[in-house]
C-alpha cells in the first residue's frame, strides 16, 4: 500500500500563489484580447507578489517551521523566509520597472530591421508574455534557495533560468546585442546546469541520496568513494558559482547585464543573486558543512579572484551597465567571504545574518541604480556609454545626485546601507579569529578601495565635467519608476542610518540556521 505524501500547503503557499498567477497569466495570453492584456497582467502580477509577501509575513508571525516540508523536499525555515521576503520585495520593484512599454520588443520573432518588425511596431504589438515569464522566474527564485534536495534544486534552477534566458532577448533597442546576450546566457547557463546535474549524480553515487541532510550524514561514514564526493562537490560548486557570477565563471555577467532589457537586468542583479546565494549557502552549509576544511581553501581562492577581477576590470569599462555588472561581480566576491565564516552555531548565525542583510541592501540599491539607467536616454535608446553621462549633474542635478548616492552606497561609504552590509559580513569573518580569513577581509577592503575608484569616476563625470551640447535627455519618469527610485533611495538612507530593525529581523531569521 502506498501512502500519499504529506504536503504542507500553507508553508508552500507563497510559491503556489506565484506559480498559480503565472499559469493564469499564460491563460490571459491565450484568451484575453490584445488590448486588455496589459491591463490584466500588471495588477495580476503585482497583486500575486503582494499576496505572496503577505503570506511570508503571516508565516513569520505564526512561527517558523522547524522541519522540512513536502516530505523533506523543501525547507521553509528562518533564512528561507527572510530570503523569500527579500526576493519578493526586489521582484515587486523590478516588476514596476518592467511596466514600461519602451523597454520590450514588439515582436521578438521578427528579424531586427526587417519589414516584419516595422509592421509589429506600427501595429503596436507588445510582448505581454513578459509578465507570466517574470512570475515563473520569480517562483523559481523562491524555490531555489528553499530546496532541501538536489533534484528539487535543479528543477528550481531551471524554472528560474529558462524564463530569464528568454527575457534577456526581448530588449526593444539594440536588439542584436540583446539576442546575443540571450544566446550567451542560455548556452553558458545550460552548460553550468549540466555541471550541477552531473555533480548531483555523483553525490548521489556517493551518498545514495539527493537529500541534503542525508548527504551530510553520509559524510560521517567512510566508504571509500571519496573521489565521487570531491568531484561531485566541485561540479555542484561550479553550477552554483556560475549563477552568482563568481570568477572564473563571471564572463557571462557583463554581456548579459548589458544586453538584457534594463528592468530584467535589475531583476537578475537583485533577485537572482539573492536566490543563488541562498542555494549556495544551503548546499555548502547543510550538505557539505562537515567538509568545510576541504572546500574553504578553494572558496578562498574564488572569493579573492572574484573581488579582484570585479574591481579591476570594472575600471576599464566605458559602459554603465557593464560597469554595474562588474560591480555586481565584486560584490559577489565580498559576499563569498561570509560563506566561509563558519564555526560553531553562534558564529554561523552571525555570518548568515550578515549575508542576509548584505543581500537585501545590495539588492535594493542595485534596482535603484538600474532604474536610473532606464531614464537617461539617447534617441536610439538608453545612453549607456559613460561619456554620455558627462555633466548630467548640471542638467538634472536630482537624478545625478541620486545616482551618485547609489554609487556611494555600492562603494560602502558610511551612512549608506552598503556600508553596514559590508560591515556585517566583514565583521562575521573577522569574528572567526582566523588569520587566513582576516587576511581575505584586508584584501576585500583593498579591493573596495579600488572599486571606489570607478564609482567615483562616474560621479566625477556627472558633476565635475561639462555637459556636451547634444547630451542625452532625461525622460520624465513614470509613477512606477519614480516610486522605485524613491523607495530605493529611502531604503538606502534608512538602512544606512538606522539599520537596527532590519538587522534584528535578519538575526532572528538566521538564529535557527538552516533546518537539517
Amino acid at each position: 500500500m502506498i501512502t500519499a505524501p504529506t504536503i504542507e500547503y500553507f508553508q508552500l503557499a507563497p510559491l503556489l500563489v506565484l506559480l498559480g498567477a503565472a499559469v493564469v497569466g499564460v491563460l490571459v495570453e491565450a484568451f484575453a484580447p490584445r488590448y486588455l492584456r496589459r491591463a490584466i497582467h500588471v495588477p495580476l502580477t503585482l497583486l500575486s507578489l503582494v499576496g505572496a509577501f503577505a503570506l511570508v509575513i503571516l508565516q513569520t508571525i505564526r512561527g517558523v517551521p522547524t522541519s522540512p516540508s513536502a516530505m523533506g523536499a523543501v525547507a521553509v525555515d528562518g533564512p528561507t523566509l527572510f530570503i523569500w521576503g527579500t526576493i519578493l520585495v526586489l521582484s515587486f520593484v523590478s516588476v514596476l520597472l518592467i511596466n514600461d512599454e519602451e523597454q520590450f520588443v514588439p515582436s521578438a520573432a521578427a528579424v531586427p530591421g526587417s519589414a516584419e518588425e516595422e509592421k509589429a511596431i506600427t501595429e503596436g504589438n507588445a510582448h505581454t508574455e513578459v509578465y507570466p515569464l517574470a512570475l515563473f522566474a520569480i517562483a523559481g527564485m523562491l524555490l531555489f534557495p528553499a530546496s532541501n534536495d538536489l533534484l528539487i534544486m535543479f528543477v528550481a534552477l531551471e524554472v528560474m533560468s529558462l524564463p530569464l534566458y528568454l527575457l534577456c532577448g526581448l530588449a526593444r533597442r539594440r536588439r542584436l546585442l540583446s539576442q546575443e546576450a540571450s544566446v550567451k546566457y542560455f548556452l553558458l547557463g545550460a552548460f553550468s546546469s549540466a555541471f550541477f546535474l552531473y555533480g548531483t549524480a555523483l553525490l548521489y553515487g556517493y551518498a545514495g541520496s539527493v537529500d541534503l541532510h542525508a548527504i551530510s550524514q553520509a559524510l560521517a561514514v567512510a566508504n571509500g568513494t571519496d573521489t565521487l564526493l570531491y568531484i561531485g562537490m566541485a561540479m555542484l560548486g561550479v553550477g552554483l558559482l556560475f549563477k552568482i557570477g563568481a570568477a572564473p565563471f563571471q564572463a557571462w555577467k557583463p554581456d548579459v547585464y548589458q544586453g538584457a532589457p534594463t528592468p530584467i537586468t535589475a531583476l537578475m542583479a537583485s533577485g537572482t543573486l539573492v536566490a543563488a546565494f541562498g542555494a549556495l549557502l544551503r548546499v555548502f552549509w547543510v550538505a557539505l558543512g562537515n567538509l568545510d576544511w576541504n572546500w574553504t581553501p578553494i572558496m578562498w581562492g574564488v572569493a579573492a579572484l572574484t573581488m579582484v577581477v570585479g574591481s579591476i576590470l570594472a575600471i576599464t569599462q566605458t559602459d554603465i551597465k557593464r560597469m554595474l555588472a562588474y560591480s555586481s561581480i565584486a560584490h559577489a566576491g565580498f559576499l563569498l567571504i561570509g560563506v566561509m565564516a563558519v564555526g560553531d552555531a553562534g558564529q554561523n548565525a552571525l555570518a548568515l545574518s550578515g549575508l542576509l542583510f548584505y543581500l537585501l541592501t545590495y539588492g535594493i540599491t542595485t534596482v535603484g541604480a538600474f532604474a536610473i539607467v532606464t531614464l537617461v536616454r539617447d534617441p536610439g535608446g538608453e545612453a549607456w556609454h559613460l561619456s554620455r553621462w558627462a555633466g548630467l549633474g548640471k542638467r538634472s542635478p536630482k537624478l545625478a545626485g541620486l545616482f551618485a548616492f547609489f554609487l556611494l552606497a555600492f562603494a560602502g561609504i558610511p551612512l549608506t546601507s552598503g556600508f553596514f552590509g559590508k560591515y556585517a559580513v566583514f565583521r562575521s569573518a573577522v569574528a572567526l579569529g582566523e588569520a587566513w580569513l582576516t587576511g581575505l577581509v584586508v584584501l576585500a577592503v583593498v579591493a573596495s578601495a579600488a572599486a571606489a575608484f570607478f564609482y567615483v569616476r562616474v560621479i566625477v563625470l556627472m558633476f565635475f565635467s561639462d555637459p556636451s551640447a547634444d547630451g542625452p535627455t532625461v525622460v520624465t519618469p513614470s509613477w512606477a519608476t519614480s516610486a522605485v527610485v524613491g523607495f530605493s533611495a529611502f531604503a538606502t538612507v534608512a538602512l544606512g542610518v538606522f539599520p537596527q530593525p532590519v538587522l534584528d529581523l535578519a538575526e532572528k531569521a538566521a538564529k535557527t540556521l538552516f533546518v537539517q
Binding site: 551612512l415 569574528a431 578601495a449 558633476f463
Partner: protein, 503 residues
C-alpha cells in the same frame, strides 16, 4: 554646569542649517543664512567651552545612546580638553571661511547654495568626529566627512580639480578601509560588545595583536595627517581646492589624523605605540625637513603653503609620539595654532590669487606698494608660519621641540632645522611676491576690502593674543594630555639639569 545635550545640538544645528540652505532659492539669502548659522554655532561653542571645567571629569558634556545594539555601536559624544579646543578651532574657522568664500562659488557658474550647504554639513561632521567617544561613530564621521570635501574640491576647485578630488578621496578611503578592519578586529578582540572608547582602553593586551591593530589605525591617520611618505595627495588637493575649502582641509580635516594618533593609537595600543615610536619619529623628522625643502622649491603659492603644512605636521606627530607632557601638549596646541596660521595664509593667498587670477609666484611682484594691507596680512600670516616668537605658533613649536628633546635629543635637533628652512620658504616667497618693482599685472590690484578685513583681522588677533597668552588653551589641554599619557603608561623623563642644581 547646565545639563544640555550641547554637542548633539551643535551637530544638529549644522545639519538643519545645511538642509535649509540647500533649499533656499536666493543665493544671497543662502550665504547670509550660512553665515548666521555658523556664527550661532560659534557662539554656542564658546558658551559651551566656558562651562568646561578643565580639572573636572575627563569627558564632559557626555551623551550616550544606543544606536545599533546588534553591532554594539553607540551614539556617544563627549569632549575632553583636546577635543574641545579642536571643536573650537572648527567653529571659529567656519564663519571666517564662509565670509572669505563669499564670491568663490560664483566663478564656475555652479550652484552657490550647494557650496554653502556642503560647508555646513562639513561643520557638523567636524564637530562630530572630534566629539565621538564611540570608535565606530568616529569611523563613520571620519569616512563620511570625505564626501562633502570631495564635492567642494571637485565642483568648485581649480583646473585640475577632478584629479585632485579623486586622489584625495581614494587616498583617504584606502586608509579608512584598512582602519575599518582594525576597528572590527578591535571589537572582537576586546569582546565587550561595545565600541565605547572608555570600554576599549586597555582591552587589547596581546602584543602582536596590538601591533597589527595599531598599524591599521596608524596608516589611516598617517594618510590623513599627512605624514611623509603618504602625503602626496595634500599638495594637489590643497592647491586645487577653493581657498576656503583648503583652509578647512588643512586646518581641520588633517587634524583628525593627528588627533586620531593621540586619542586612539596611543591610548588603545600603548605598547604598540612605543614599539613604533622610533619609526614614527624618524618619519616625522623626514617630513619636517622634506616638506620644508620642497616648499622652498615651489612655484605655486598654494602648493607652497601645502608643503609647509607637511613640515608642520611633522612637528605635530613628533610631539605626539615623543610622549612627554610638554611635547604632547605642545603638539595639541600646535594643531590649533596651525589651523589659524595656515588658515590665514591660505585665505590671504586666496585673495591674492582671486585678484590676479594666477597661483604662480612668478606672476607677482611689488604688491606691497599697491596693496599694503594685503601685503601686511600676508607677512604676519607668513611669520606665524615660520613660528616667529610672539606669534602663537612659536609657543607650540617650542614646546614640541623642548618636550621631544627631553627624550629624543637627536630628532629634536634635526627638527630644529625646519625652523630655519621655514624662514627661507616664507621670506623668499614674500620677497618675490610683495617686494621689488611692482609687476605690471598687479599694478591695478585693489587692497583688502571691508569683508576681507573682517576675515583676516580675527585670525591675526588670535595668532597674536595666543602668542603672548596661550594659558587659557594650555589650561584646558594640559590636564587632558596628562590623562591620556597616564593611559599610555609613560612618565616624563627626569630633568637632568635640575638634579645638578640640587647638589
Amino acid at each position: 554646569m547646565l545639563e544640555l545635550p550641547w554637542l548633539s545640538f551643535l551637530i544638529g544645528l549644522s545639519v538643519v542649517g545645511a538642509i535649509v540652505v540647500a533649499f533656499l532659492k536666493n543665493d544671497k539669502v543662502a550665504k547670509q543664512t550660512t553665515l548666521g548659522v555658523s556664527l550661532l554655532i560659534l557662539v554656542l561653542t564658546v558658551v559651551m567651552a566656558v562651562q568646561f571645567s578643565p580639572n573636572g571629569d575627563r569627558f564632559q558634556f557626555a551623551e550616550t545612546y544606543d544606536w545599533i545594539p546588534s553591532f554594539g555601536v553607540h551614539y556617544a559624544v563627549a569632549v575632553d580638553g583636546i577635543a574641545l579646543v579642536l571643536i573650537l578651532l572648527s567653529a571659529i574657522l567656519v564663519p571666517i571661511v564662509v565670509l572669505a568664500s563669499w564670491h568663490d562659488a560664483e566663478q564656475g557658474k555652479r550652484s552657490v547654495r550647494t557650496y554653502f550647504a556642503l560647508l555646513l554639513v562639513l561643520e557638523a561632521m567636524m564637530i562630530g568626529v572630534f566629539a565621538a567617544t564611540d570608535v565606530f561613530l568616529f569611523y563613520v564621521f571620519f569616512e563620511a566627512m570625505l564626501i562633502p570635501m570631495y564635492f567642494m574640491i571637485g565642483s568648485y576647485g581649480g583646473a585640475q580639480r577632478s584629479y585632485a578630488a579623486v586622489k584625495f578621496l581614494l587616498y583617504s578611503l584606502f586608509g579608512g578601509l584598512l582602519m575599518l578592519v582594525a576597528v572590527i578586529a578591535l571589537y572582537n578582540v576586546a569582546d565587550k560588545n561595545s565600541f565605547l572608547f572608555p570600554d576599549l582602553i586597555g582591552a587589547v593586551t596581546d602584543p602582536t595583536t596590538q601591533k597589527w591593530l595599531f598599524l591599521g589605525f596608524f596608516i589611516a591617520f598617517a594618510i590623513k595627517a599627512p605624514l611623509w611618505p603618504v602625503h602626496t595627495w595634500l599638495p594637489d588637493a590643497a592647491a586645487q581646492a577653493p581657498a576656503g575649502a583648503a583652509v578647512l582641509l588643512v586646518g581641520v580635516l588633517d587634524k583628525v589624523g593627528t588627533y586620531g594618533m593621540l586619542r586612539f593609537c596611543l591610548e588603545l595600543f600603548p605598547d604598540a605605540a612605543k614599539w613604533a615610536t622610533p619609526v614614527v619619529i624618524a618619519l616625522s623628522v623626514i617630513g619636517i625637513v622634506y616638506g620644508a625643502i620642497v616648499a622652498i622649491g615651489q612655484t605655486d603659492i598654494k602648493r607652497l603653503v601645502a608643503y609647509t603644512s607637511i613640515s608642520h605636521f611633522g612637528f605635530i606627530t613628533m610631539g605626539v609620539f615623543a610622549m612627554t607632557t610638554t611635547a604632547t601638549s605642545g603638539a595639541t596646541l600646535y594643531m590649533v595654532n596651525h589651523g589659524f596660521s595656515t588658515g590665514v595664509l591660505f585665505l590671504v593667498a586666496g585673495f591674492l590669487i582671486y585678484r590676479r587670477g594666477s597661483q604662480f609666484i612668478a606672476d607677482y611682484g611689488g604688491v606691497q606698494k599697491v596693496a599694503p594691507l594685503l601685503a601686511g596680512a600676508f607677512l604676519i600670516a607668513g611669520l606665524s608660519g615660520l613660528s616667529l616668537p610672539g606669534l602663537s605658533t612659536f609657543v607650540s613649536e617650542f614646546m614640541v621641540l623642548l618636550g621631544t628633546y627631553q627624550r629624543y635629543a637627536v630628532p629634536a635637533i634635526i627638527g630644529t632645522t625646519g625652523v630655519i628652512l621655514a624662514a627661507i620658504y616664507i621670506l623668499w616667497m614674500y620677497q618675490r611676491t610683495m617686494n621689488g618693482p611692482t609687476a605690471e599685472s598687479v599694478a591695478e590690484m585693489k587692497d583688502l576690502n571691508g569683508r576681507e578685513r573682517w576675515v583676516v583681522a580675527p585670525l591675526i588677533a588670535l595668532i597674536v593674543v595666543l602668542g603672548f597668552f596661550p594659558k587659557p588653551l594650555l589650561d584646558v589641554i594640559n590636564p587632558a594630555v596628562k590623562e591620556s599619557l597616564v593611559n599610555v603608561k609613560v612618565t616624563d623623563p627626569a630633568p637632568v639639569v635640575a638634579v645638578k642644581e640640587g647638589q
